[in-house]
């Protein structure tokens, strides 16, 4: 029971984290029609910035805030110097150009921070276990991730659905020429959206940093997961990204936790311990393949198309 609750919460936490990453990706994809492989690099930069700033200021919160700002600025600079010129080009060009950016960021990080990973220590007040149910404790930090991510998701929803900027963003997604013709500064809007996406990726990176090591290439594995999520959820749909992210986070976490035991009941011990890790890593890709075969447009395609 304890294990089930704990793994369930872990799945939720991982899913919410994935949502932060996928939300930026799907916004950029849905609105600018840009496939941004370098989104994972922004996630990595968020983690590196946080590790640096936290060590520098000595305060976790301050460092995290500064890292968030730094990723936002980095995203805006990236959009203005490079990615802006890719709008309207073939998706293949996007893949290639942003693939180049990944190479660049990984190498730049190696140059600046060195090849060894960094650690981001948590402050004491975030390491205490919190009782969530009578007799069941859960790490405060993971709980904090859940709360922050849910809050951000809510803000994002309200921002996109209830504010003027959000309205413009949605309008830009459905018809970019029209909104430009109506006198909206579409370039600025795009830069803003990209910066927002970058900040979300950075937030995911810096929140994940204390749990994992901060290392080069950390963005790539999770980027693929984020892509899986937006493909499952339907490209351009934030609601789809949210549901798919939770789904993927749960399946991945629960699969890794319980699949070995399940397999052991069906297969022999040796075969199960061989098959389990591979199978649990494959699970989400399998899920994506099934979803795409059954519903090629994703589960919740954005209604605009």
């Amino acid at each position: 029971m304890l294990l089930v609750v704990e793994q369930f919460l872990n799945g939720l936490q991982f899913g919410l984290l994935l949502f932060l990453l996928a939300a930026g990706l799907t916004l950029v994809f849905g609105i600018m029609d840009l496939v941004n492989l370098a989104h994972g690099s922004l996630y990595m930069m968020g983690a590196y910035f946080a590790a640096t700033f936290v060590a520098w200021t000595g305060s976790f919160l301050l460092g995290a805030l500064m890292a968030l700002g730094a990723t936002l600025v980095l995203g805006i600079v990236l959009e203005m110097t490079a990615l802006r010129h890719l709008y309207g080009r073939d998706h293949l060009d996007h893949v290639l150009a942003t693939f180049g950016l990944i190479l660049f960021f990984n190498e730049a990080v190696r140059l600046i921070w060195g090849p060894a990973g960094l650690a981001l220590p948590l402050p004491a007040w975030l390491t205490v276990p919190v009782p969530i149910l009578p007799g069941i404790y859960y790490p405060a930090y993971r709980l904090a991730i859940i709360v922050v991510a849910l809050l951000v998701a809510l803000l994002l929803y309200l921002g996109v659905m209830r504010t003027r900027i959000g309205m413009l963003i949605r309008a830009g997604a459905s018809n970019r020429e029209m909104i430009g013709a109506l006198g909206i500064n579409i370039k600025l809007l795009y830069t803003l959206v990209f910066g927002l996406g970058a900040a979300l990726a950075g937030l995911a990176g810096l929140m994940q940093a204390p749990i994992l090591t901060v290392q080069i290439g950390m963005g790539e594995n999770i980027l693929i997961l984020a892509f899986v999520i937006i493909v499952i959820g339907g490209i351009g749909s934030i609601r789809g990204a949210f549901l798919a992210a939770i789904f993927v986070g749960m399946i991945d976490t629960l699969g890794r936790a319980f699949l070995p035991n399940l397999l052991r009941q069906v297969l022999s011990g040796a075969a199960a311990s061989t098959a389990a890790p591979a199978l649990s890593s494959m699970l989400i890709y399998l899920l994506m393949a099934i979803v795409l075969v059954v519903r090629p447009e994703g589960l919740f395609p954005a209604s605009r198309r």
């Binding site: 890719l86 893949v95 150009a97 190498e107 140059l111 061989t274 591979a278 890709y285």
Partner: protein, 314 residues
């Protein structure tokens, strides 16, 4: 030859260079260059196979490196189990790649556009994790191939020069095959599907079936490259199938010129030489390579072949 164009001259020079390379290596005693170019020729084969679906067929596969792994593991696993004959290893490698391509092609071709890019990527990642889980065959650490494929005296893959020419012959054979395919009725239908699938379907061509066959042919060709690669490095590991390797292959195709016959070969030569050259200047070669790719995309439309004047087409 009716006309002389820059791209034809460049292609001819490059081919002459590739054929004469062992002579140069022999005269100068530079063994390293032969090893490097063996790898280049093998990856050029892989890029050429990707070009068949991506350039001519309009099917952008982001999981092409999976075949490199499948071909490689077919050789490695058979060698491990005591089957050393290339006459068995290579057909098995090709057949395994073809079957994999048939299955994932049948599923992936239900989607299009970015979804297609992503689903091929997902399948390649699955293949990567399967290979990582093969505890009996090295798992994550990979599998050492202690003995190269044995072609019972016909060609000795252990010999550097013979192996090089074997790979080059495979490459030229595959390019020739692609040339014949592209100019056949089948190839024309596939290219027609790239430009307008709906129209082709309205004329009465079963679109998916043509695309699937093309997809399988391409995968099988890449499986050959995988079998060669395992022989070249005497080693195969899941890393061969990692998605960045698929990215590398795409870069080679686009750099050289998509949908041109020799573009991918030129792309592979330039990309890998550039990588080698930059890594000799600085340890941080990717710092230059990355922005270079960006610039190529932004300013060099149509790749090297495109900027040399389009004539290499089929």
């Amino acid at each position: 030859m009716k006309t002389f164009t820059v791209s034809k001259v460049v292609t001819a020079l490059m081919l002459a260079g590739l054929v004469l390379l062992p002579l140069y290596s022999h005269l100068t005693g530079n063994i390293f260059i032969l090893t490097l170019f063996t790898r280049i020729v093998i990856l050029a084969l892989a890029a050429a196979s990707l070009n068949l679906i991506m350039g001519y067929g309009g099917m952008t596969s982001f999981g092409h490196a999976a075949y490199l792994g499948i071909g490689g593991y077919a050789v490695g696993i058979l060698a491990q189990e005591g089957v050393g004959s290339g006459f068995i290893q290579f057909p098995v490698a090709l057949a395994a790649s073809a079957i994999y391509a048939l299955v994932i092609g049948a599923l992936s071709l239900r989607t299009r556009g970015v979804y297609f890019i992503m689903i091929t990527l997902a399948f390649a990642q699955m293949a990567y994790y399967v290979a990582s889980g093969l505890a009996r065959y090295g798992g994550d650490d990979g599998l050492t191939v202690y003995k190269r494929s044995d072609f019972s005296g016909l060609v000795n893959l252990g010999d550097r020069v013979q192996f090089y020419y074997f790979c080059l012959a495979c490459l030229l054979g595959v390019v020739f095959l692609i040339w014949r395919i592209v100019n056949s009725r089948f190839g024309l239908v596939v290219q027609g599907l790239r430009s307008n699938e709906q129209r082709m379907q309205a004329i009465g061509f079963p679109a998916k079936r043509y695309q699937l066959v093309c997809f399988v042919i391409s995968g099988t060709m890449c499986g050959l490259a995988g079998a060669l690669l395992a022989n070249n490095t005497d080693f195969v590991s899941p890393a061969v199938m990692y998605w960045t390797r698929s990215g590398d292959l795409m870069v080679m195709v686009i750099l050289g010129g998509m949908g041109t016959l020799f573009g991918p070969v030129i792309g592979a030569v330039v990309f890998l030489l550039l990588e080698e050259f930059l890594s000799q200047i600085t340890e941080y070669w990717a710092l230059i390579m990355g922005p270079l790719l960006l610039l190529i995309v932004l300013f060099g439309r149509g790749g090297i072949m495109g900027s040399l004047g389009r004539s290499g087409r089929g």
